[in-house]
């Protein structure tokens, strides 16, 4: 039987094929009909609310808005294509961030071999300087960090190497848990913890440079 029946009022087209020839086992092919519109509606409802967060993250990854625009669009197209594979009720935001991160690595990273070389010793030395045995300096730290300009914080964030930048943004700006970040960047939770710790140290070091340039007295940290 080679008939193809469209079931009225149903979402499937059932087509039984190949029976006459015995070349293939009897198979029922189910092709979605109304499900296409339902998929778009589901996708719009679940995925599109994360567009702003994805764009903000994309700009910080790409460091330019044009690439970020294309990257987010590409992310949503991939998300839509593979939305059937997304398990409803699970974390759509983390799923989209993971698609975005992988798309960025494969298509947008200017230097695919960009190493995360950090002059870590230099940062460590500086960090040792800013650590203080005085609890009063905590208030000063707070004052200094809280009074930094948004642009300075933004530039300092973007100066971090990619892996550290990604981790700190996902945690401190996007409010994701270590488990979610680990899923997005595809690494163990211990690595997230370690990268985050180092990322914040690097950021603090960089911000204190700005604080000094703006005339803050950071002697107490030294």
């Amino acid at each position: 039987m080679n008939d193809l029946t469209i079931l009225s009022g149903e979402s499937f087209v059932e087509a039984q094929k190949f029976d006459n020839f015995g070349l293939y086992p009897s198979a029922t092919i189910k092709a979605p009909m109304n499900t296409i519109a339902a998929k778009q509606s589901d996708f719009e409802r679940e995925a599109l609310p994360h567009m702003n967060a994805l764009y903000s993250f994309a700009v910080r990854l790409c460091r330019n808005r044009e690439d970020a625009h294309d990257l987010v669009q590409e992310t949503f197209m991939k998300g839509f294509r593979f939305f059937d594979k997304f398990e409803r009720g699970t974390n759509c935001k983390a799923w989209l961030f993971r698609i975005l991160k992988n798309t960025y690595i494969n298509q947008y990273r200017k230097d695919k071999r960009e190493p995360d070389i950090v002059e870590y010793d230099v940062i460590e030395e500086f960090y040792d300087l800013i650590r203080s045995d005085s609890s009063e300096s905590t208030d000063l730290q707070k004052k200094i960090f809280d009074n930094l300009l948004d642009d300075e914080v933004s530039i300092a964030l973007e100066s971090l190497p990619e892996t550290f930048r990604t981790t700190i943004i996902l945690c401190d700006l996007e409010g994701m848990t270590y488990e979610e970040i680990a899923e997005i960047i595809e690494c163990p939770i211990g690595t997230v913890r370690s990268r985050l710790h180092r990322a914040r140290k690097m950021l603090a070091s960089q911000l204190l440079v700005y604080a000094k340039q703006r005339g803050y007295d950071t002697k107490d940290f030294e």
Binding site: F21, A31, R65, H69, M77, S132, D133, S137, Q141, D150
Partner: protein, 301 residues
């Protein structure tokens, strides 16, 4: 366990974030924090960075451009339009098998299987080739746009007016940078609806009143450096295909994505259509999409 301070430092981020730490490590860390001021200061640094970024979250957030949602929706629509072709392919396959049936029935079993294989291969190559051609013919989502037809189409009118102004044929009837004065001018010249000027980082230079089937409509012009932004604002209720019209596909995009953006055929001018209160606003400019969208202020809903 007795981890070194350096080893324990790795856990400070987790402590600042309230994430899970192995109870034994946590106990050792807490005990060391009481006696080791350096470790304690390092924890403060972690907390300070976390809190600072949290407080600056709003300021550090980068708002997506207004055309992004439209681009995504257009891309998805393209995917959706492409999807029925799979069903069409099934129909094609069905016809293929139906056509094959009498041929195969006429063949003896010895020839049937090789013949079917050869025909299947030819059929597969034909259908794959068809699918390839379809894929190649899909336009880039950013190029997807609707066709504006009819002299009462508000997008067509906005384009025409923009070009008339650009070439010097059309001059503002009222030159002013003051919205209230311009609104007063519109009212005095028969515009009966309130004009809701967009919040835009551009200098208002004046306005014009047009007439369509006896109704008066407000047009106004902005300047940004050497660039022009021509705006045309009409009540949504009058875009009824009688007095004024708009392409239904463009309106569908506005309803779904808030904005419809396009680039003018054969030119680099940008057009945007969106709802401005109870009115529809069309803007045409020689600015690029991303430049124009960066100038318009909107509050996300």
């Amino acid at each position: 366990m007795n981890k070194s301070s350096k080893d324990l430092e790795e856990y400070l981020a987790a402590m600042a974030d309230g994430e899970y730490i192995d109870p034994k490590v946590k106990q050792e860390l807490e005990s060391r924090l009481e006696s080791d001021p350096e470790l304690s200061a390092a924890l403060h640094i972690q907390t300070a960075m976390k809190n600072m970024l949290h407080h600056k979250h709003e300021a550090l957030h980068i708002q997506a451009p207004m055309d992004l949602r439209t681009s995504i929706m257009q891309g998805i629509s393209l995917e959706q339009n492409n999807a029925p072709r799979q069903v069409k392919s099934l129909s094609l396959m069905e016809s293929f098998w139906n056509a094959l049936d009498p041929i195969v029935s006429a063949l003896s079993p010895t020839f049937a299987i090789p013949a079917i294989f050869a025909i299947c291969m030819a059929g597969y190559m034909y259908m794959s080739d068809g699918a390839q051609s379809e894929t190649e013919s899909i336009p880039n989502p950013s190029m997807l746009k609707v066709v504006h037809t009819g002299t009462n189409n508000i997008c067509t009118q906005a384009y025409s007016s923009y070009h008339a102004y650009e070439s010097g044929v059309l001059q503002p009837q009222m030159l002013t940078s003051n919205q209230d004065r311009l609104s007063q001018f519109f009212a005095e010249h028969g515009v009966t609806y309130p004009v809701h000027y967009p919040k835009i980082d551009a200098e208002l230079i004046g306005g014009v009143v047009s007439q369509e089937k006896g109704t008066k409509f407000a047009h106004f012009i902005y300047k940004v450096g050497e660039h022009i932004i021509y705006a045309y604002e009409v009540p949504q209720g009058l875009v009824d295909n009688q007095t004024l019209s708009v392409n239904p596909r463009a309106m569908e995009i506005v309803n779904k994505a808030d904005w419809y953006w396009e680039q003018e055929n054969g030119a680099s001018n940008t057009m945007v259509l969106w709802k401005l209160g109870p009115n529809l606003c069309v803007m045409v400019s020689d600015l690029r999409t991303e430049q124009l969208s960066a100038l318009i202020h909107v509050k996300e809903t």
